[in-house]
């Protein structure tokens, strides 16, 4: 019984810790694999965040765009011809690309989302 008790205590302690640790390490392993998180909100609520994304040239990047807003948003990089479909409120969209030329490329929201829609933009810097 004593062994079982120790086993049970370990399970009760280890389970929650393992879950929290697992969640955060899985999240950071995703980040290392060249995934960039971009949060989309209307300009008056926080705009694209971050507004400047830096990536390395010639390396594959996955951009995860998360719409935490209550209207649809979009994402286009006109100079690179990157466009994702309308991202509905609460949903997320992924786009994977590789860019070989250095430079600064502005990106925009492509869905009319608020009175300040035209200010919803950011810069993609390729180094």
């Amino acid at each position: 019984m004593r062994k079982q008790e120790i086993f049970a205590v370990l399970l009760v302690i280890i389970f929650p810790i393992a879950i929290v640790w697992g969640a955060f390490s899985y999240q950071s392993s995703l980040k290392q694999a060249n995934t960039v998180q971009l949060i989309a909100q209307a300009p008056e609520k926080g705009n694209f965040s971050p507004q400047t994304i830096k990536i390395k040239k010639g390396k594959e990047v996955t951009l995860v765009i998360r719409n935490v807003d209550v209207t649809s948003h979009g994402f286009v990089v006109p100079l690179l011809g990157i466009r994702v479909k309308e991202i509905k409120a609460g949903e997320l969209e992924k786009v994977t690309f590789t860019i070989d030329e250095e430079g600064k490329y502005p990106f925009y929201c492509s869905v009319w989302c608020s009175d300040y829609h035209l200010q919803m933009k950011g810069t993609l810097i390729v180094e």
Partner: protein, 654 residues
């Protein structure tokens, strides 16, 4: 047997009327008898193109969508009409999804969309916002009523017929006998699940239900973490914490656990674990029998359901926050876990579960209805057995943590199904039984019984407030009023306090007063002067338990069918970090079986009515001294029950 035949005939008649009415509804209105003939052959595909374009009127409707309501919120048309809707968004992106029809449209802010619906199905259909528009988004709804509303009419017809039928049978003395449920099932029928060796071995193992607790600790760690990192996100419908607790857990509890297995949740609930651990000094093996800590006794005045009635009621004041905001859910769960642990330090055993936990009260009361019980197999063995190890504990297990006397238990109210008595009983004299629904209502057979004495206004008010709380939840989460939703989520402080004041008044004054009036009429009409009015009030209030189980079930159907698909999303992406664990993160919001919702809801409410009529007269026999008085005293209560059931049918499908 003649009586049961009679009842069967009545039920068959009702069902056939119901089916006829609904077949009429899919073939066309009675006015088009000729067309109906020609359409019959092709009715299987369910479409009726000729008629809708031929006879219907054009209806133009300007539908404004504004957080969190539509205006007009209720649209009434006739079958065959063409509804031209111009959907305008007044603020953020909104959508329009029509239950049963499946039409879906979204409209960006400040824009409009035009679309047409051919009203070829009759009934009441909910249209809901289909684009996440904010915290109350899943509850932004309106109703489209396509007349003639056959579901509604047949629902009312069924209720009236069943009511009158039951009254006639009762008054002529042909009602279901006192010891039978619906004439045929003996109330004493039991099926012992623990007679299977495997089940008994499982129940006697100290690892059960501990293993279920472990799984729940795992799940609730994810829930708490998700609710915490989800913070104040306005998209609560994509939060694991919100969805698991308020969509999955609540619905499982109300639709499945409470009606069928009673306090099953208490068996697997992980919250008291830390308190137990502290009190016992051991987690799974048997440690101290006397609780460590201050081990005080809960005050005698509060040793009833009143604290639970009040605490659950107060916690529902905040339903507009914690059902939609992840962080509010985090706080709510933290308070529950924290207070469970702190109370375990001060008071002995499971004082928290018995007298504090907000969701314990209705589970205990409604468990009287459930189809499972833990009882003694052979009382004679217990009489000879000393000491009562099930109460004081032994080396195999703890004395009843719920402070019940397992050897003398005849009600599910305070049995938390923790299974300790299976472990402590050296004679294997405890049994886990399947039983007919609601037999606990009858376990107090005479007023001399201890359980009968214990019945007080606390349980009556628990039953009454559960109806009032249901009404407010219905208006908040399935009702059309945006104004009410604004009050509930406290857009203005004045509105919020008005809501709380009105809500409290309705729950503790208006509803009890109406019920009291009928109890008063019942006593007057019965002519029994020996019975106390309080006794009438309390005894009949148990009818509201079956009513409550049914309406909460119907409510849960209206929550899980439209919103269940969110679960697929949150399983794959529990923290809204963009994960896709099982490949279902992109699964769109898809309402499920919405065409069947109203049928299921009517079905559940009718079942509830049958049980309340069945048990109601038995309560009347318990209350009044002679059968003649019981019959007369039953009439006002029957009218009350018919009345509220018609009201519920109107609420859900009318």
């Amino acid at each position: 047997m003649k009586k049961s035949l009679l009842v069967l005939t009545v039920i068959t008649l009702c069902v056939s009327f119901f089916l006829y009415a609904n077949s009429a509804n899919s073939h066309g209105s009675p006015a088009n008898a000729e067309e109906k003939q020609t359409e019959l052959g092709s009715s299987d595909n369910g479409k009726d193109v000729h008629e809708s374009s031929g006879n219907g009127k054009e209806r133009n409707i300007e539908l404004r969508a504004k957080r969190y309501s539509f205006s007009p919120s209720v649209i009434t048309v006739n079958k065959g009409d063409r509804i031209n809707i111009k959907l305008i968004s007044m603020d953020v992106t909104h959508g329009f999804f029509l239950d049963g029809y499946g039409t879906e449209v979204t409209v960006p802010p400040g824009d409009w969309k035009k679309f047409t619906i051919e009203a070829d199905k009759t009934g009441r259909f909910t249209f809901r916002c289909s684009s996440t528009c904010g915290e109350f988004h899943p509850y932004m709804v309106g109703y489209l009523r396509v007349l003639p509303n056959w579901n509604y009419y047949s629902g009312i017809f069924l209720i009236v017929i069943l009511g009158i039928g039951s009254l006639i049978l009762t008054l002529t003395g042909k009602g279901s006998p006192r010891d039978k449920l619906f004439w045929v099932i003996p109330l004493s029928w039991r099926f012992e699940l623990t007679k299977f060796k495997l089940v008994r071995a499982l129940f006697k193992s100290r690892w059960f239900p501990f293993i279920a607790l472990l799984i729940n600790i795992w799940v609730f760690t994810i829930i708490l973490l998700a609710a915490f990192v989800g913070g104040f996100s306005s998209a609560g419908n994509y939060n694991f914490g919100i969805m698991m607790v308020w969509i999955l857990w609540w619905v499982l509890l109300m639709l499945f656990m409470v009606p069928f297995i009673g306090r099953f949740w208490c068996m697997v609930c992980p919250f008291p674990l830390f308190g137990d651990w502290f009190q016992r000094g051991k987690l799974i093996s048997v440690g101290r029998q006397k609780s460590r800590g201050l081990n005080k006794r809960w005050p005698t005045k509060g040793r009833n359901l009143w604290p639970l009635v009040i605490l659950f009621f107060i916690s529902t004041w905040f339903s507009g926050f914690f059902t939609v905001r992840p962080f509010a859910t985090f706080i709510f769960l933290s308070i529950i876990i924290g207070s469970a642990t702190i109370i375990a330090l001060i008071y002995g055993k499971r004082t928290f579960c018995l007298f504090v936990c907000p969701v314990s009260g209705f589970q205990g009361l409604y468990a009287n209805f459930s189809a499972c019980e833990i009882r003694v197999k052979n009382p004679d063995i217990c009489k000879k057995h000393k000491p009562k190890t099930c109460f004081v504990g032994n080396e195999k297990g703890y004395g009843c943590p719920w402070m019940e006397l397992p050897y003398d238990m005849n009600s599910n109210t305070n049995c938390g199904m923790c299974l300790e008595c299976f472990k402590t009983c050296p004679h294997d004299n405890m049994a886990f039984n399947l039983r007919p629904f609601g037999t606990d209502f009858m376990s107090a057979r005479n007023p001399a019984d201890e359980l009968y004495q214990r019945r007080g206004t606390d349980e009556a008010f628990k039953a009454l407030t559960m109806i009032g709380i249901f009404l407010v939840f219905y208006f908040a989460f399935q009702g059309t009023s945006g104004q009410f939703k604004d009050m509930l989520r406290a857009t203005t402080l004045g509105g919020y306090f008005t809501y709380i004041a009105g809500y409290t008044l309705v729950n503790f004054l208006v509803i009890p007063a109406v019920f009291f009036l009928f109890a008063f009429l019942s006593k007057k009409l019965s002519g029994d002067n020996g019975v106390k009015l309080k006794e009438v009030f309390v005894n009949f209030s148990y009818c509201l338990v079956t009513v409550g189980v049914a309406v909460w079930g119907a409510f849960s159907i209206g929550i899980i069918l439209p919103n269940g698909s969110y679960l697929l999303h949150i399983f794959s992406d529990p923290f809204a970090w963009g994960w896709d664990l099982f490949g279902t993160a992109d699964f769109p919001w898809t309402p499920f079986l919405t065409g069947a919702t109203s049928y299921l809801q009517i079905f559940v409410i009718i079942i509830g009515l049958l049980f309340s009529l069945e048990y109601g007269f038995k309560f009347s026999l318990q209350t009044y001294s002679t059968p003649a008085e019981a019959k007369r005293g039953w009439i006002p209560m029957l009218i009350f029950l018919i009345g509220i059931h018609i009201f519920f049918i109107w609420l859900f499908v009318g």
